[in-house]
């Protein structure tokens, strides 16, 4: 489980590097243009921290280390991710349980992450922030949990929901963060942080499936 988590996290780091220029463009359209570079710095920090951790590190400790790596990044995004990841760590401490229990725990972890980010940043859906990709992600996990026990299917639906949520921010006007100064001029392109979130969860989901089915 810890190995699988490592693989997923490193996949997310690579996906962020690949998206650096795109994320810079999105952040620059309305904000200050650093998000691509900032997330790449985060990816580098995360890789370094993971290398330093023994292979038997628990998933919770692994996440806490990743949270610290993200805190080092600074910017608005650093504290938000580090708080979110710290909250998820608590959920993962119980370790795996199989079947629906995993899905339930993932749902709780994602919900805890959202709560942590909202507590810190006070953004609500519609503010054109990563919340607009994270909130539908959490909702989709909840809906899936209520209907079927299939973790992969649930994750796939949640990833799609976050992607849709990220795209939907294109029509939104930024109300918080750097971009808010622009008012209506911030409309047009999707939010950088929402986009990077959807990139992260898709990369992790793909890597997780690949790792389990051995096509990783």
């Amino acid at each position: 489980m810890s190995d699988a988590l490592r693989i997923c996290v490193l996949a997310a780091a690579d996906a962020l590097d690949a998206a650096r220029s795109e994320l810079g463009i999105l952040d620059g359209a309305a904000g200050d243009g650093d998000h691509g570079m900032t997330m790449s710095i985060g990816a580098r920090n995360v890789r370094r921290r993971l290398q330093a951790l023994p292979s038997d590190t628990s998933p919770g400790d692994l996440l806490r280390a990743i949270g610290l790596a993200m805190a080092d990044v600074g910017g608005a995004i650093g504290p938000l991710y580090s708080a979110a990841i710290g909250a998820m760590a608590a959920e993962l401490d119980q370790g795996p349980a199989g079947g629906n229990a995993d899905l339930a725990r993932l749902h709780r972890a994602a919900a805890a992450a959202e709560t942590a980010i909202v507590d810190l940043g006070h953004a609500v859906p519609g503010d054109k922030t990563l919340i607009d990709a994270l909130h539908p992600f959490v909702l989709a996990l909840g809906t899936a949990e209520a209907s079927s026990p299939d973790l992969d299917a649930a994750v796939a639906q949640a990833v799609d929901a976050s992607a849709t949520g990220a795209l939907s921010t294109a029509d939104m006007v930024a109300r918080v963060g750097r971009a808010s100064r622009l008012g209506d001029r911030s409309r047009g392109l999707p939010d950088a942080g929402a986009t990077s979130f959807s990139i992260i969860v898709r990369a992790m989901a793909d890597a997780y499936r690949g790792a389990r089915t051995g096509h990783g």
């Binding site: 650096r20 600074g74 750097r178």
Partner: protein
């Protein structure tokens, strides 16, 4: 991305190495060049050499790319420490906390920085930890950018070149041996009396981003920009220095309680690529608009104070002065990039 061996393959040409090393190499060079004034603590804190005597600490900071802000304003009569972030990214909570510890001599520490989500979050986390360590911490956010929010939401405004005014006044007050209450009070007063408006003529590029911060036509300018290469509030045609100053100063004066009868400091700040020739022409124009409106310019600052990498453009900052602020601006200061 570029390797340490190859040049920075960005849109704009830069004299850097690996963009991932840019901030750390800059700090390494900065503390080597100004070793008589500052030292590096850890990786991202520039601190003034200890004086021994207890004084209220002033901690400033923010993202990189605004040089000479913020590390350039660390020194006698100014800040005691600056927390340094990545380019256009607020410093980490650890860096902020390190800076607070370095500035603390037991009589309290004032944090002052521009009002941006990232800075508020990171400095806020650090302030909480510092308080837990028993340090008396206060915070004064700089909110001089008139373009960044309407007057009704004045507390949401961002800090741009007004930083230099607020830091100078607070630093001078702390150097005089004032209490934390007094230093906080003058910082609040200086910020409340300060307004800025800027124009951008050309964009900048975050090292490693591989793209310009925004595109603007050859005959257009961005009015009401920030200091991060953001697009401005609105776009307009390129105007003369006189017409530009008229727009910027009128906006500032319209935001003051009374637009005339003020004794003011006028700061014309270059954003990076604009020549000193242009800055002094803009200063002349801004001063005329202020005086024609019935104000007196009794203090002046012209140059690069809070930049936006190599962006072309300038901002105009006006501070309504009383005798106390005037004296604080005149007090001696010996920072690497601000000497009085």
């Amino acid at each position: 991305m570029t390797s340490g061996a190859g040049p920075s393959r960005g849109v704009l040409k830069k004299l850097i190495n690996d963009p991932f090393d840019a901030v750390d190499e800059m700090l390494d060079g900065f503390v080597a060049a100004h070793a008589d004034v500052v030292r590096l603590i850890g990786e991202r804190v520039v601190a003034r050499h200890q004086t021994g005597r207890p004084k209220v600490g002033l901690v400033i900071g923010g993202g990189s790319g605004h040089e000479p802000a913020f590390a350039g304003y660390v020194g006698a009569g100014l800040a005691d420490a600056a927390a340094v972030g990545n380019v256009f990214a607020a410093p980490s909570p650890d860096a902020c906390l390190e800076a607070i510890r370095a500035a603390s001599t037991g009589v309290g520490v004032l944090l002052s920085y521009g009002n941006y989500t990232g800075d508020v979050l990171n400095f806020g986390i650090a302030a909480g930890r510092a308080v837990a360590e028993g340090i008396d911490v206060r915070t004064v956010l700089v909110t001089d950018d008139v373009a960044s929010a309407p007057k009704a939401e004045i507390d949401r405004r961002r800090g741009i070149a007004g930083d230099a005014i607020v830091f100078k006044c607070a630093g001078a007050m702390a150097e005089r041996g004032a209490t934390l209450d007094q230093v906080e009070r003058v910082a609040l007063a200086a910020n409340a009396a300060t307004r800025s408006m800027g124009v951008a003529l050309s964009p900048c590029e975050v090292p490693g981003a591989g793209r310009l911060s925004f595109e603007v036509a050859d005959d257009q300018i961005e009015i009401g920009l920030g200091i991060h290469g953001e697009p401005g509030m609105r776009r307009g045609p390129l105007l003369t220095a006189d017409a530009t100053a008229q727009i910027l100063v009128d906006t500032i004066l319209g935001d003051f309680e009374q637009p005339s009868g003020n004794d003011v400091a006028l700061l014309v700040n270059g954003l990076g690529a604009t020549s000193h020739l242009d800055l002094y022409i803009l200063y002349r124009a801004a001063r005329r608009v202020l005086e024609d409106a019935g104000n007196t310019v009794s203090r002046s600052m012209v140059g690069e104070y809070v930049t936006s990498l190599e962006m072309a453009g300038a901002s105009i900052t006006v501070t309504r002065l009383d005798d106390e602020l005037k004296a604080l601006l005149d007090d001696p200061a010996r920072a690497a990039r601000m000497i009085r």
